[in-house]
């Protein structure tokens, strides 16, 4: 038996995670992290979500705590999110939250308080001390927890990673948990669906109008905010009509957005910042995933460069680049697109 602190967001996955750990005979305490005091409608921090987490904990007969990590969340997730957009990058705040808040701040707090492990409701598995894809491939979240090394994983549990989402909901229903039919959370927790990214960033940074040019340098349009444009996006930068055009590059200095046909978006390589191998470099081909639900593609990794077997769409700078073994099961490396 271990003492396990379960991060309960008020969603169905973490509710069932707590129930499973209890079933396994562990001493379980639930905690909801208060991360964001501002507006939120989808997030993990609304009072309604905390209520759900607390009520589930009461139903399971476990203690429920609330930790206020708002300062850490702002410093490590929200502020860098804004700063990244300013320099034309497309960050993944969920990954930064996992890296700095859930599996650092919370993990250290749990250790200090005498817990053996922290559990979350992520759909991923831990097999032989490595992160592996969750049993439900469609819901797999190994991509967003790829940064966990062996030391971390010794103190982390993903109980629902062995279940499909349907099985999770069935278990929640069988236990009569109030979160059984609660919809999955979507998008970035600190951004409202009403206002979106544009409103959130617009309140925090001045927007830079930019000229849209084609690959030959001819002006084909304009955008009001360079900060809201992402490499690879298709909609919103050209008037439509004719061939489909994609954003292939952003140049903040010259305030230009370059668009081109799909061909122009294709590239043979991705340079990766902070690439970290879980068990040392792998020479042979690996499968590389560059977005949360993207299809992994074959590549070899040469130093800090991913070289695709066949050209792939350019990866927006700031996105996580995660390498899996050839069986598409285990995370073997991860970093951030430069």
């Amino acid at each position: 038996m271990n003492a396990v602190l379960v991060a309960m967001s008020g969603g169905v996955d973490s509710s069932v995670a707590a129930a499973m750990l209890l079933d396994e005979g562990h001493e379980v305490v639930g905690v909801t992290m208060r991360l964001w005091g501002g507006e939120s409608d989808t997030g993990c921090c609304s009072v309604a979500d905390v209520d759900d987490a607390r009520r589930v904990a009461q139903q399971l007969g476990i203690d429920h705590l609330v930790f206020n990590f708002g300062d850490d969340f702002r410093a490590h997730v929200v502020d860098p999110y804004v700063a990244a957009h300013v320099i034309g990058r497309t960050p993944n705040p969920c990954i930064e939250c996992n890296r700095h808040v859930k599996f650092d701040r919370l993990l250290r707090r749990a250790e200090l308080l005498g817990f053996d492990a922290v559990a979350t409701g992520h759909h991923a598995r831990i097999v032989h001390g490595r992160v592996a894809r969750g049993a439900d491939r469609a819901k797999d979240q190994s991509y967003v927890v790829h940064m966990l090394g062996r030391d971390d994983l010794a103190r982390v549990r993903f109980p629902v990673g062995t279940l499909t989402k349907d099985e999770v909901r069935r278990r929640a229903s069988a236990l009569g948990l109030r979160t059984a039919t609660k919809p999955d959370s979507q998008d970035v927790c600190f951004i409202t669906t009403g206002g979106g990214r544009a409103e959130f960033l617009g309140r925090r940074v001045p927007f830079t109008p930019a000229t849209v040019v084609d690959t030959d340098g001819a002006v084909v349009g304009g955008v009001e905010a360079l900060e809201l444009v992402t490499v690879g996006q298709r909609r919103g930068v050209t008037d439509g009509g004719g061939t489909r055009r994609y954003v292939t590059a952003l140049d903040r200095q010259r305030a230009t957005v370059t668009v081109g046909p799909l061909d122009a978006l294709l590239t043979e390589r991705v340079v990766v910042d902070g690439l970290r191998w879980i068990d040392g470099p792998v020479d042979e081909e690996v499968l590389v995933q560059t977005s949360a639900h993207g299809q992994p593609q074959l590549a070899v990794v040469d130093g800090d460069v991913v070289v695709w077997r066949t050209p792939q769409r350019r990866v927006a700078p700031g996105q996580a680049v995660v390498c899996y073994d050839r069986s598409d099961t285990f995370v073997v490396a991860g970093g951030t697109a430069a």
């Binding site: 909801t32 208060r34 009072v47 905390v50 705590l65 609330v66 206020n68 707090r109 308080l113």
Partner: protein, 360 residues
């Protein structure tokens, strides 16, 4: 709760359940109980029975005083920066002015003088602070207000002060006084606002006009009766309680200072009420500390909690100029009439252990 309060309220939850506003014998029985309770509360607070307005607690009483004054008279609300949120938020809501405090949490009288003028229609200064225990120089505040803001309703939130201070004497100069039953052994959900004759406030809650049109809503008879019983007992025992709890508090804080390096008493004892033991402990986080204390059987708090239950940074410590690194290790240990020497022993054992563990 105090046994007196539980005993007093029980009949009104069972057989004597009538609505005191009714016209029959059972109603008259309930009405008599409320009238008698009003006499006790008035005596305990040093006012006339007709000046007592029963409320749903301290928050409603505070809101009523601040919002009621501004809505009735227009003008500007003034309060200290360390008031309870029940005063602070209404004052901010009507665009009022907040006055700075010194490092012990006492209102800066020069700063207060500077914001007072004929436009000011309500000044709210608490008797004792709920977080750190600081007692305000209320007499000096009253003199300033009368001299510089002659129109102002002078309100004091005596919620935290009532168990420890001679509220009737100290607030004789005030126009409005808030109290809340659960702070002195009564039930939650009932309190009172003293509104002196001649002071007019717009009512917050409109309806049947049960409290002489100053507040509507069916009387919480059981709560009111229990509050009166708790109040009577509190006043009767107050001097002895202050002496006993003060000694326990001193032993607790002296013991903690001796046992825990880099633990600081937030406010000197001479400036605060007997039941308050607020300290800041460097190098620990309050949230983590509270968890370990709870496991050791010591229930403490930090500042205030938001609706989600998360701890919010203390506006009181911020106003006192306590650095964020230090206020992050704030610990609020409260003692009361029911505290025992064994409780103090337990805290002296558990707190140093928890701090040692968190500092490893």
């Amino acid at each position: 709760m105090r046994a007196e309060a539980v005993d007093a309220m029980r009949p009104f939850l069972q057989d004597r359940f009538a609505n005191p506003s009714g016209a029959h014998a059972a109603a008259r029985d309930a009405r008599r109980a409320v009238d008698e309770a009003r006499d006790v509360v008035a005596e305990s607070l040093g006012c006339q029975p007709g000046e007592v307005v029963f409320t749903s607690g301290g928050t409603e009483a505070d809101n009523h005083a601040v919002l009621g004054a501004v809505r009735q008279h227009g003008g500007v609300a003034v309060a200290t920066a360390v008031e309870h949120h029940a005063v602070l938020h209404p004052v901010e809501h009507v665009g009022g002015r907040l006055v700075a405090v010194d490092e012990r949490g006492r209102v800066d009288l020069d700063a207060l003088a500077a914001v007072l003028n004929d436009d000011v229609t309500v000044v709210s200064v608490m008797l004792a602070n709920n977080e750190v225990g600081t007692v305000q120089p209320f007499g000096a505040v009253a003199s300033l207000v009368r001299e510089r803001a002659p129109r102002a309703v002078l309100h004091t939130d005596a919620v935290q002060g009532f168990p420890w201070l001679d509220v009737a004497a100290l607030t004789a100069v005030a126009d409005c006084v808030s109290v809340s039953a659960h702070k002195f052994g009564g039930p939650k959900g009932v309190g009172a606002l003293v509104v002196r004759t001649g002071t007019t406030l717009e009512p917050l809650i409109l309806g049947g006009g049960q409290e002489r049109d100053r507040r509507s809503g069916t009387h919480n008879v059981a709560g009111i009766v229990a509050m009166a019983a708790a109040m009577r007992a509190t006043v009767a025992e107050r001097a002895a309680t202050v002496e006993q709890v003060g000694a326990q508090r001193d032993r607790l804080v002296d013991g903690l200072i001796a046992a825990v390096p880099e633990l600081y008493e937030t406010v000197p004892r001479i400036d605060k009420v007997a039941g308050s033991a607020h300290v800041c402990i460097d190098g620990v986080e309050s949230e983590a500390l509270l968890f370990l204390l709870e496991r050791g059987g010591v229930y403490a708090s930090v500042a205030s909690s938001c609706a989600s239950g998360a701890m919010e940074p203390s506006h009181v410590l911020a106003a006192m100029g306590v650095a964020k690194e230090r206020s992050g290790g704030a610990l609020r240990l409260s003692l009361g009439y029911a505290s025992t020497d064994a409780d103090v022993d337990r805290a002296l054992e558990v707190v140093p252990d928890a701090v040692r563990r968190l500092r490893r």
